[in-house]
């Protein structure tokens, strides 16, 4: 049985109070295991990004248990969370967030530099990571000289250069055309995913649904269901998500399509 990468149990996240109270997460239960690519889907404003933020410890849950690789995030201090993220989590953002004044290699080197790797060593490792995502010819380019797909691949190389065990991605294909988006997901499956690593992708891009091992459907701060599938890499416009009732916390090996 695959190692549990992360689990959320009855997690609530509220914004505001009284009449302005917004329940961004309303009793979420979810498990992520190593070796899987989990897609978190749902309409805008349903709480996907909040869930991702809580999962990786950059946002505190109002209540509930958040555990990543056996560590209770909700019991950590901010400093401990920062250190934990540094060691265990890689990030890929919708807007890439590449530093515009750094070259592609330097951008990829940033997480290594955070780990106090010397500059030259970090850039050398970064070049190797860029080669893995097919950008060995663009290592000295500034982000502004790269296409959207190339920038996202730089971001992927940056997320995996320190070999984190969990990679979280926020709408990685939102700013890309369909073909490029599918190519990026291909990179995720072929270069990033490994048996000891889990990937969680927040997306509402139905064109990439076919790349996920499981798809968690969110509505109004709740996980309505988790749908396990054989990742085909094909466009999945037609994927039908089962509206499962809470809680939906089973690991993918236990989940049966349509089960509650």
């Amino acid at each position: 049985m695959a190692e549990l990468a992360a689990s959320l149990r009855n997690v609530h996240k509220n914004y505001g109070e009284a009449s302005t109270l917004v329940r961004a997460l309303d009793g979420v239960n979810l498990e992520v295991v190593c070796g899987e690519l989990l897609l978190l889907v749902g309409p805008s404003g349903c709480g996907k990004t909040t869930l991702l933020s809580v999962l990786c410890g950059i946002l505190d849950a109002t209540s509930g248990d958040v555990e990543v690789f056996g560590q209770r995030m909700d019991r950590m201090s901010q400093e401990q969370k920062t250190a934990f993220r540094r060691e265990n989590i890689g990030f890929i953002f919708q807007q890439y967030n590449l530093l515009p004044s750094l070259t592609a290699a330097e951008n990829v080197a940033v997480p290594l530099l955070i780990h106090d790797v010397p500059w030259e060593d970090a850039v050398t490792q970064a070049r190797a990571a860029l080669a893995q995502v097919g950008l060995s010819e663009r290592t000295e380019f500034l982000p502004t000289k790269l296409s959207g797909g190339q920038q996202q691949r730089v971001a992927i190389a940056r997320a995996m250069v320190t070999r984190p065990r969990l990679i979280v991605c926020d709408e990685p294909t939102a700013a890309l055309d369909g073909h490029t988006g599918q190519m990026i997901l291909q990179v995720f499956r072929e270069q990033v995913l490994s048996p000891e690593r889990a990937i969680v992708i927040v997306t509402h891009d139905s064109r990439i649904f076919g790349f996920g091992d499981r798809i968690a459907d969110m509505r109004d701060g709740r996980i309505l269901g988790v749908h396990a599938q054989q990742a085909t890499g094909a466009s999945q416009d037609a994927v039908e998500l089962q509206a499962l009732q809470q809680p939906a916390t089973q690991a993918p090996t236990q989940i049966q399509e349509g089960s509650a």
Binding site: T82, E87, F91, P100
Partner: protein
């Protein structure tokens, strides 16, 4: 990470140039205004520096070199009798009115030098010889401000108190605070230029005997005669202190320096804050990736320090160009001692620190979740 901070700073050319320019402008104004302050105050003591004597003795009520509190003529002999005094000579320094050949009146700073030794005579003669002062009606004029006397040549004359003053030499002389031309003559002739007065001796210049400390001789003179005695440096500061306390110069310059400080802090702070705002999602991304608040603070402080040092270098350089172009003989009073540079650098660093505080606060309070906001 510090290298990244530098690349972040310099990568945003427009903001980087704005920041460096604002700090350079602040540094330039600080050193330029401070230099004018030092220059103006320094000029109040130029009449003292022009003489170059080890010990200055005067009436205790004398507040500055421009004051006139005469002593008894016999005080000269009392000072000469003080233990440790090697020699003592009289000196007059007074601002008097000269009447030029065209009938115009002009204030001049009159030096009456000891007839026997001409002690206090100009060190560098441009035209003529100081010994020519022993001729009838002879005066030597300082070149600086001599245009106010009609730029006289050797042999030209003007009047002081209805008595002829004939130019026998032109010497290098400093510009003083009042911008009066310097006129040197003998002590006895200076007395003829002054209005009749019961007491006329203004200063006694003295020197200690070999091996006797100046301070010991000064203490002996004060104890024995009841007069005030200073080293040359001491009397310079006594004079400058009078102007610092009794004129509006420190307040005026201080106000402009304070405005430079406030405006500089405002401009630099605003630009720094805009820089932090613009880079918010990058700082957020760094926080999300595990960069600690301490490291981010160090990064911003480094950026601020770098801007401060580069801006100070440029501003200081421009101020130096201003100072050199003005020159020591310029009508513009400008002096930039190293202490001024240190003070200006400290002020600039404080400005940078204050300017970066808002940015640091912003970045520290920044929720890393901001990076997930598309």
């Amino acid at each position: 990470m510090m290298k990244i901070a530098i690349k972040m700073l310099m990568g945003d050319r427009a903001k980087y140039i704005t920041l460096v320019s604002s700090i350079a402008f602040v540094s330039l104004l600080f050193i330029q205004q401070g230099g004018i302050f030092c220059g103006l105050i320094g000029r109040t003591a130029r009449p003292v520096e022009a003489v170059d004597a080890p010990i200055w003795v005067c009436d205790p009520l004398m507040r500055s070199v421009d004051d006139a509190e005469p002593m008894q003529d016999t005080d000269l002999y009392r000072v000469r009798s003080v233990p440790g005094v090697k020699w003592a000579v009289p000196l007059i320094i007074r601002v008097v009115t000269a009447r030029l050949a065209n009938g115009q009146y002009q204030s001049v700073r009159l030096y009456g030098l000891d007839d026997a030794t001409l002690y206090g005579r100009p060190a560098h003669m441009l035209v003529g010889d100081t010994r020519d002062l022993l001729e009838n009606d002879a005066v030597i004029i300082g070149q600086a401000e001599s245009d106010k006397l009609g730029s006289p040549k050797i042999g030209d004359s003007f009047e002081i108190n209805d008595t002829e003053a004939r130019v026998v030499g032109i010497a290098e002389a400093p510009r003083d605070f009042l911008s009066n031309p310097f006129v040197f003559t003998t002590y006895s002739r200076a007395l003829s230029y002054l209005p009749p007065d019961r007491k006329t001796l203004l200063y006694i210049l003295a020197a200690p005997k070999d091996g006797v400390p100046v301070q010991t001789v000064i203490a002996n003179i004060e104890k024995t005669t009841g007069l005030a005695a200073y080293t040359e440096d001491g009397y310079r500061w006594h004079t400058m202190g009078y102007y610092l306390k009794n004129t509006g110069i420190p307040v005026s310059i201080g106000v402009s320096l304070a405005m430079v400080f406030v405006i500089g802090t405002g401009i630099a702070g605003q630009t720094f804050y805009a820089f932090a705002l613009q880079n918010e999602r990058f700082f957020g991304a760094l926080k999300a990736m595990g960069v600690s608040g301490t490291t981010l603070t160090h990064m911003i402080l480094l950026q601020s320090l770098l801007v401060g040092l580069i801006g100070f270098g440029i501003g200081g350089g421009l101020a130096s160009i201003f100072g050199f172009s003005a020159g020591p003989q310029s009508k513009i009073a400008f002096a930039a001692p190293w202490e001024l540079a240190v003070i200006a650098l400290c002020a600039v660093l404080i400005i940078c620190l204050l300017a970066s505080l808002a940015s640091i606060r912003r970045v520290l309070k920044l929720e890393p979740a901001v990076v997930f906001h598309g």
